[in-house]
């Protein structure tokens, strides 16, 4: 059902066109390639989490044309992106920039993995130590049991 609602929302925002149209494609294949790469990282502002490369909304088309216009004018990829961000804000980037306000977002995977790993290492060592606290007789009995079990 969740997916359904998403479909509905995404598709309700569709115009009649479908994503990149043949008439938008640039003559120079290298330039077109760059345009596609940039487009897939820019959000269609009226859609839900869709890039302008995938979207059929009119606004997405305008943005695609804008990107191609800037590229043809000789802008670098970064300059094109900056140009779009200046106009529409950070919201347009599907990959948020790394800065103070997005610190937690970017660091969460590293933090969880790191802290989880440290926690595990700690648990293993503690267990090891408590195991070592056994008397030598106990240890021998345990070893014998483990051997037999294995």
């Amino acid at each position: 059902m969740r997916a359904l609602i998403a479909f509905a929302i995404i598709l309700l925002s569709f115009g009649t066109a479908r994503a990149v149209q043949p008439d938008e494609v640039l003559k120079d294949p290298a330039l077109e390639q760059r345009a596609r790469a940039i487009s897939s990282g820019l959000r269609c502002l009226v859609c839900q989490n869709q890039s302008i490369d995938d979207s059929d909304a009119d606004l997405a088309r305008d943005l695609r044309l804008l990107v191609r216009e800037r590229l043809t004018a000789g802008d670098s990829d970064a300059k094109v992106r900056d140009f779009v961000v200046d106009r529409y804000g950070e919201f347009v980037l599907l990959r948020p920039t790394f800065r103070l306000r997005t610190l937690l977002l970017w660091l969460t995977p590293v933090l969880v993995l790191g802290l989880g790993g440290i926690g595990l290492a700690y648990a293993v060592r503690r267990r090891h130590r408590s195991a070592a606290a056994l008397s030598s007789d106990e240890q021998r009995a345990l070893d014998a049991l483990l051997e037999r079990d294995a």
Binding site: M1, A3, L4, F7, P22, S40, Q48, N49, L105, A131
Partner: protein, 660 residues
């Protein structure tokens, strides 16, 4: 009349679930078998009531009873019967009814399997389960009643959203819900164990089949949804990192971790506290997903504020159940006995690592989905978190997990030998490397990601095969003996091997998307357009009419070197009642690869805009998921997991339980 009866049955179910919460809990506390025995009886009664309510709503749809508001808003007399039935859950109210129906169905099954579950555990579990049912029934009856009437009744309905008029609607939500809601049983068992303060390997053996069922269905549900999006949305994407998709991915990741940790708990009586926590978290994430989608908070923070009734209610449910269960956990978990000890290098250790990576992956999806919401609420700033973010964070987490998977599968329990395990994998690793090099040599100008990913996928498949082979190998290579040994292996070992091979298939399918070819062009009848190794020729474009839509149909012939392979139809549809356009893609399947054709705009000069894709091995993405679910299903048929198998042998006629 039937509609009112359905409404009444729902209210009755609410009352009965209240009894199902209070009486068994009391009974378990007072150790009174008669009070505890109320749980299974009421659970079956609640299921019967909700089942009847669901039947009543379905009948209202089938007979197009337009005096029911829900039917008016989502149905139409000309709609095909299958979509009238599927339309029952193609809207908010109906889908919530399906949610509680499945919830009570699971409760009913737990009630019937009393032979295999100790009475106290069953009573406590059904009480917790009933508490969830109670909350959602109250939600439906107060904010989302599907049985509301409308006076005067209109002549016809407003039709179902055209995008939902698809076979996918009949299959996807029920699969997904069985998965989501199935984890509620693991949750209820976990809470019951905490209430009772006792947990052991028997608990894990009882819970494992339920988590496996839920996991397998969720896997199928997500795969089905992904394939549906692929063919319905018309640009050939299959995963969008959309918050709604993430909402289903999170419980899947946590559930995958849970399926693995219950293995450790069952076999080695270890990781108990973690498994309990994971069971709670998995269902909590299912609830979170329900909240995210049902409250409208995803579309915009503001839409939540405008119509806060439903959102607040579910948020309340969320807080009570997640907060309550975690508080219970914090209070009771320290009292639980720690279990078996194991060395870091062992099967258990490998499964702990698996859980660490899956939990981190889940946390990454969680933060990526909720961070924009949180940031907007706190600072008003809007950011987007999309595919590029997840490619940079989630994918690097999953790759090491997959690389280590065959190694972990080869390690022995308790105390493993890393070098020995690695040696047993030499052949599998060498072969995968060879496959990778060969593919790379043949496609050396193409993308590097494809051969690398395919190598990984092949390694996963061979690693799984290797596990079965090494365990059934006998010196001298006596075939009949090997075969007998292989078939004598526990079904759960086969299930694990097959599920992991399924992961390999999916990885290959995903890696091969790097070879996708896209062709855009304008075509007139007779024109040809090349796409990958094939060519498409536009034959005709004709208008057509159906009961509830009109469409323009373009027919194309797909050719390979001048030879005709078959024809596909791609349509632009207009659904008449809602005035909504859709595009239907045409797909030609060749083996595991597909040619995907989608009709674009009619250009000013009268030619047709056409979008063609060649997608090599794309079917493996979903086929792999089906194989994963099949592996889970096979595991379920393992003797030791079969619900009730162990207990039937030693059933004792003790408690005066009523007949079912």
């Amino acid at each position: 009349m039937l509609v009112e009866a359905g409404h009444f049955a729902l209210a009755l179910a609410l009352g009965l679930s209240l009894i199902q919460v209070v009486v068994p809990l009391w009974g378990a506390r007072a150790n009174d078998p008669v009070l505890m025995a109320v749980a299974p009886t009421t659970a079956l009664a609640v299921f019967a009531c909700i089942g009847f309510a669901f039947f009543a709503l379905t009948m209202a749809y089938v007979t197009s009873d337009f005096s029911v508001l829900n039917v008016v808003e989502n149905s139409h007399s000309t709609k095909p019967l299958i979509y009238k039935i599927a339309g029952v859950w193609g809207n908010h109210e109906g889908s919530m009814l399906l949610w509680v129906l499945i919830l009570s169905l699971f409760g009913g099954i737990v009630a019937l399997s009393r032979d295999s579950i100790p009475a106290r555990l069953q009573a406590n579990t059904l009480a917790v389960q009933a508490a969830i049912t109670l909350a959602f029934l109250a939600f439906i009856l107060t904010t989302s009643n599907p049985f509301d009437r409308v006076i005067p009744a209109p002549a016809d309905g407003q039709d179902l959203n055209p995008l939902l008029q698809d076979l996918g609607l009949a299959i996807h939500p029920p699969l997904l819900y069985v998965g989501y809601v199935g984890f509620s049983i693991a949750f209820a068992f976990a809470c019951a164990a905490l209430i009772d303060g006792r947990i052991d390997a028997v608990w894990a053996r009882i819970v494992r089949p339920w988590t496996l069922i839920a996991w397998a269905f969720l896997t199928l549900g997500i795969a089905m949804g992904s394939y549906w999006a692929y063919y319905e949305l018309g640009w050939g994407g299959w995963w969008f990192w959309d918050p709604v998709e993430n909402a289903s991915l999170m419980p899947w990741l946590a559930g995958t971790a849970l399926v693995h940790s219950t293995v450790v708990m069952e076999k080695r009586d270890s990781l108990k506290i973690w498994t309990i926590l994971l069971a709670i978290l998995t269902f909590s994430l299912s609830l979170l997903g329900t909240f995210l989608v049902r409250s409208g908070v995803l579309t915009s923070v503001h839409s939540f504020a405008v119509d806060p009734e439903r959102g607040s209610f579910i948020l309340g449910i969320l807080v009570v159940f997640i907060g309550g269960s975690l508080a219970l956990f914090a209070w009771r978990a320290p009292m639980l006995q720690q279990g078996g000890v194991f060395a870091p290098i062992s099967r258990e250790g490998a499964l702990v690592l698996n859980n660490l990576f899956l939990a981190t992956g889940c946390a990454t999806v969680f933060i990526g989905t909720l961070y924009p919401l949180a940031l907007e609420v706190m600072t008003g700033e809007k950011i987007s978190v999309g595919e590029p973010f997840f490619n940079l964070t989630f994918v690097p987490l999953i790759i090491p997990l997959l690389l280590l998977l065959p190694l972990g599968q080869t390690l022995a329990w308790k105390r493993g030998n890393l070098l020995g395990a690695a040696q047993r994998l030499y052949a599998a690793f060498g072969l995968s490397l060879l496959v990778m090099i060969v593919i790379f040599a043949f496609t050396h100008q193409g993308p590097v990601a494809a051969p690398l990913g395919i190598g990984l996928g092949v390694f996963l498949i061979l690693g799984s095969l290797n596990d079965i082979v090494t365990r059934s190998w006998v010196k001298g290579g006596d075939w009949s003996l090997i075969r007998r040994k292989a078939f004598g292996l526990p079904r759960s070992s086969w299930g694990a091997a097959i599920a992991h091979a399924g992961v390999g298939l999916t990885v290959i399918g995903i890696a091969a998307t790097a070879w996708d070819v896209e062709s855009l062009g304008t075509m007139r009848p007779g024109d040809r357009l090349a796409v990958g190794p094939y060519e498409a020729r536009l034959e005709t474009i004709v208008p057509r009419r159906s009961a509830n839509y009109r469409e323009d149909v373009a027919t194309l012939t797909i050719l390979s070197g001048g030879r005709e392979l078959g024809s596909v139809e791609t349509m632009k549809r207009l659904y008449i009642t809602r005035g909504m356009p859709t595009t239907e893609a045409g797909i030609l399947t060749r083996g595991l690869s597909q040619v995907y054709v989608s009709l674009g705009e009619i250009q000013p000069n009268g030619a047709l805009g056409m979008r063609l894709y060649y997608k090599p091995l794309v079917l493996l993405i979903w086929l792999g998921a089906v194989v994963m679910a099949a592996g889970g299903g096979l595991s379920l048929t393992d003797r030791r997991l079969r619900v009730g198998a162990a207990a039937k042998a030693r059933r004792l006629p003790v408690s005066p339980l009523p007949a079912e």
